[in-house]
Point group: C2
Chain length 285, copies 2
């Protein structure tokens, strides 16, 4: 009944006898509850978020179905798991981007050891310079070429220009030699497109003093093939995930998340603008 | 001709034979050019900013009149100084707030030594938690009580609640026992008020990829007495100062400054909202 998720792009994976999340056939995602404070924090978040957030923001979070004792993927026996909505279910070939938002993944309440490790990672990746880093991705190209899914090490060493290229490939049908960005206007753009959703999230972050989301990811999903199944525009999804380091805001906005989100929005909007310019140029040739 | 500025609230001061800025009677401010990279960086900024910024943003920066050899305040002889607009001139009793914006005053290009020192200071003050810290202030109360100008050590140890109190006192006529916030609606509020100006700055920061302003301050000035001189609302001024650590943005927005600015805007808007509520409540009593 429980399976290893097909479309996981970041985080611990339930392969080779390791502890990681599982999925079932009914669209649920089982995330092992960590033994330490991280588990407590994430569980507390999921148990309380829906009562603390405005209605129009709740959709940015996975549905939470409670906890369940599940046989752990590492063979260690029964372990409590968070039961969440499997965002990738119903999608045969989803393209997925996991973007850790914020120019800082550490926070004052964390242990000194955690702070030093997180700071080192933030300085090694684009976290400090761009205000976010790509943690993982898979981009579906075609039946023939399948997915582009760079190794973790490669993703970790992404530069600003690599990030720009990834954001172009993410909305392309042909990735090489030059991403065609043919889905940019219908996935990044449009009234319910990714950019509009990010702007809605941004407006909330300018005001909300409920949570500070450290080391939290924005998960973007595009199902390019959904147009083949009768949709006029590709299916897109924008979710926040990973709340093991989410703390109370104590009356202050999450300026760290907000700044990084604004930076990411700028990157996305540049791809959208450039693709519009290309389309206009093409129509004149 | 050159004098020690009366209304300096932060930074090196030209007292007791130290090197610090000077002013003259014509409304100019002479800032000693630092010998090292900081001097080069700040001079380069002032020499180029006006051609790189949109017209409506230039007013947020002090006017730059070039450099001039001036007898240094520490008696070390002639030294090049930046000649800038003296923002406090023409104001007898200005209330001033110096707010260092950003949750991080260090930056990847800085030396490791600078990074460690800046990070330590950021963690000790409200920089990390609030995304900004008050670096200095003076608040004019009245002819009788003069200024409230807490010592540097006190300012450095401000908590979030201290910051809230300062922002209330800043727009009050009576500071004790409870700030009356009687100038809130005409200084923070209003069409050309501080909040509107900060929002204009924010809109620019959401888009600009010209500069990253590390360790830069927002200088807020209120001349409460200007209403006595025929103005209908108190004179307010919003300026950015201190560009010794301003670097090129390389195509990325200044998410660090933007996040901190948004946090500061939230603090200011809360004072404004609370003061409106108080006014309504008072009118019903």
């Amino acid at each position: 009944m429980f399976k290893i998720p097909k479309h996981q792009v970041a985080g611990h994976q339930a392969i080779d006898g390791n502890l990681g999340p599982l999925v079932d056939d009914s669209g649920r995602f089982y995330k092992p509850l960590q033994d330490d404070e991280r588990g407590t924090t994430e569980l507390a978040f999921y148990q309380s978020f829906s009562s603390k957030l405005p209605h129009h923001i709740r959709g940015f979070f996975p549905v939470f179905y409670g906890t369940q004792l599940v046989e752990a993927s590492d063979g260690s026996g029964l372990r409590p798991h968070l039961v969440l909505q499997d965002i990738t279910s119903n999608h045969l070939n989803p393209s997925i981007l996991d973007v850790k938002i914020g120019s800082r993944t550490w926070y004052p309440e964390a242990s000194e050891d955690y702070i030093q490790k997180a700071l080192e990672e933030d300085r090694l990746t684009t976290t400090v310079t761009l205000g976010f880093r790509i943690s993982g991705l898979q981009i579906y190209e075609s039946k023939e070429s399948g997915y582009w899914k760079p190794a973790r090490k490669e993703v970790r060493s992404f530069s600003a220009d690599d990030v720009r290229l990834v954001l172009r490939k993410f909305v392309s049908s042909n990735l090489e030699p030059e991403p065609d960005c043919c889905f940019a206007s219908t996935t990044y753009g449009g009234r319910s497109g990714i950019l509009e959703q990010l702007l809605e999230l941004k407006a909330w972050f300018e005001d909300q003093t409920v949570y500070h989301f450290h080391s939290c990811s924005l998960l973007l999903l595009i199902d390019k093939e959904s147009v083949l199944n009768g949709r006029t525009v590709p299916f897109v999804e924008v979710k926040l995930i990973d709340f093991a380091h989410t703390v109370e805001a104590e009356g202050v906005i999450d300026h760290n998340f907000l700044g990084g989100l604004c930076s990411f929005i700028k990157f996305v909007s540049e791809v959208l603008t450039d693709s519009k310019v290309s389309t206009i140029e093409a129509s004149f040739n």
